[in-house]
Symmetry: C2
Subunit: 350 residues, 2 copies
């Protein structure tokens, strides 16, 4: 017996690389545009001497602002250190039963990591041949369900009726819809929280709000669920979002105009990039996100292209994983960055 | 069977109140002084447009700076969202065995909350009649040990030999020394990490570094332990400290002069306040922290004084808990704030 026997040993999630040299970074689905000027203004106005005090543990200023913006009650909103923190707290809170939690075999690769670290039983359900979720797979008895919509890394979104069908078949477990990318497409399940008290809808400010570096995520749900979630949060860390995060989150939510503008630009660049990729012989699924999940033309290996792009200073993401190792996940950058990508791909493919 | 059956229901930690009106706030052990001017400068210089990118998940800039300052290797340092996050990750990582984790009955009230939420078996050991930790209590077989030194809310610190004795008897479990208040007194166990590979020493920037609002905690340990801790951290949330936290933490650590100055001032105010409290008939233990744990003179109830101070706009902390309900925990504020406290106490006691 040594102290090693008491240690929880896990295989962690591997985040995309954060290169320190100047590169074109299309590998972690960040926004190519800066956060709203209102965020910058809020930071410039902040009284940094106030850092001596704890932040408001309830983050009321932020949750109230989110609630107003989305037309729900503040008691139906929870916030955390990125949607990873929110999702992790959801796993810990809502998946404490003995039946397996269900999620797709190809999806955000943190779900099985959280299940492992919290020792939650889980079962993955295979996406079909077109990488679509099969709703009837989720009619089986379960201890909870997690669906990313749009799904990652496929980029495919489903409509609200699709999500509602899964909810109709699952009144006995909490259903989490992870909408990290929903602002770029797909239909949000948010209006369904009034009808289904076991539904949690998760969002992030890392993508469409251009604030990955601030770590702000949030979720919506019935106030009973949000209370349970807060009880667990207050049992893990009472003060999570720091003072600048609370102020920046509020400023970002308040600037709807800027938000619409950058999301619109990204969607337009995405459509142009998709066209160009098609011309080069890539195949892909229509994307509802800020990335394209694309398969190189016959005769080319995704991994080789990934490595050659990297040599040229362009980072995209490749998953060395069954069923998806033939694909590249390419974040939508600025128009200039995407031109450079297409230009470089042309050279690699010739 | 309903979805409620799958939910983890816990009794959360209750943080001290964060009043929104102007009061004298001596209830959550914050610093009465602002953070280092270098922190303010770092924030004013920060390029907020960079918030679009994820922070460095390894927080290398910060951990390297902490390592240099304390003369250890960066691989022996871990950082998190306040020491609560660091401690919570430590509980999750190091206390995965079946034997009970041991800690005092009177100590930081989060320990049993973490044990509950992570379903870790634990046993508390009674402090003696003078509120001192009894080392031999920790010779029993266990799955881990947590000692706050100085202890809270008693404020009593122990020397390094005391901690080393506990380590000598516990090679088979991880021993965590929570040094949230160590900069105000007591002897740090930090030099012992080279000798005991099962030792973790936890620190915070919320007290002596005057940055409760930024949420930065860190810990030291053998690089093997730090690796296990990082594996769990990367399995819960890869990106915890946001971009401003990493920059602010670095700036705070670099300003040793300012740090010494404010810690010195707080210690001086503490000694003066203790003298004044003694004159009023309070009894207390010599404090090694930025608070005094004091018992009102005979005939007065701590809770009544707590409520009367609150009416006068002075917040201190009272714990409605066995063995310590006769005490008040009073954070050391500025000299002016402490004069107001003493003045108000005089009125209450007459």
């Amino acid at each position: 017996m040594t102290y090693e026997d008491n240690i929880r040993k896990v295989t962690p999630y591997t985040p995309g690389e954060q290169p320190k040299t100047k590169v074109i970074k299309l590998n972690t689905n960040e926004s190519p545009y800066p956060p709203s000027p209102r965020v910058v203004e809020a930071m410039e106005k902040l009284d940094w001497n106030k850092l001596r005090l704890y932040p408001d543990p309830a983050m009321s200023e932020l949750t109230r602002c989110i609630a107003d913006h989305y037309g729900v009650k503040p008691s139906e909103v929870f916030a955390g250190v990125g949607s990873d923190d929110v999702l992790s707290m959801c796993f810990l809170t809502f998946f404490a039963g003995e039946k397996p939690v269900l999620f797709p075999d190809i999806t955000y690769s943190f779900y099985d990591v959280w299940a492992e670290v919290y020792r939650i039983p889980y079962e993955t359900k295979k996406l079909d041949g077109d990488f679509r979720i099969v709703p009837s797979d989720y009619y089986a008895p379960n201890g909870g369900i997690v669906i990313a919509n749009p799904n990652a890394p496929t980029g495919i979104g489903e409509n609200r009726a699709f999500i509602e069908d899964i909810l109709e078949h699952n009144s006995e477990s909490v259903v989490i819809i992870d909408e990290a990318y929903v602002d770029f497409g797909a239909e949000s399940a948010l209006p369904l929280i009034e009808k289904y008290e076991n539904l949690i809808v998760v969002r992030t400010m890392s993508k469409s709000r251009a604030m990955a570096g601030m770590r702000i995520g949030y979720c919506f749900g019935n106030e009973k669920l949000i209370k349970y979630l807060n009880d667990v949060k207050y049992s893990v860390n009472s003060y999570t979002l720091n003072i600048p995060s609370i102020a920046a989150g509020k400023a970002a939510i308040e600037d709807t105009e800027y938000f619409r503008e950058i999301v619109g630009r990204i969607k337009k660049t995405r459509e142009n990039t998709a066209e160009e990729l098609k011309k080069l012989g890539f195949s892909y699924f229509p994307s509802d996100t800020n990335f394209i999940f694309a398969k190189p033309p016959a005769g080319y290996k995704a991994k080789d292209i990934f490595l050659k792009l990297k040599e040229s200073g362009i980072y995209v993401r490749h998953f060395d994983k069954e069923r998806i190792s033939d694909y590249l996940r390419i974040t939508i950058g600025t128009d200039d960055e995407m031109h450079m990508l297409i230009h470089t791909l042309k050279e690699i493919l010739q």
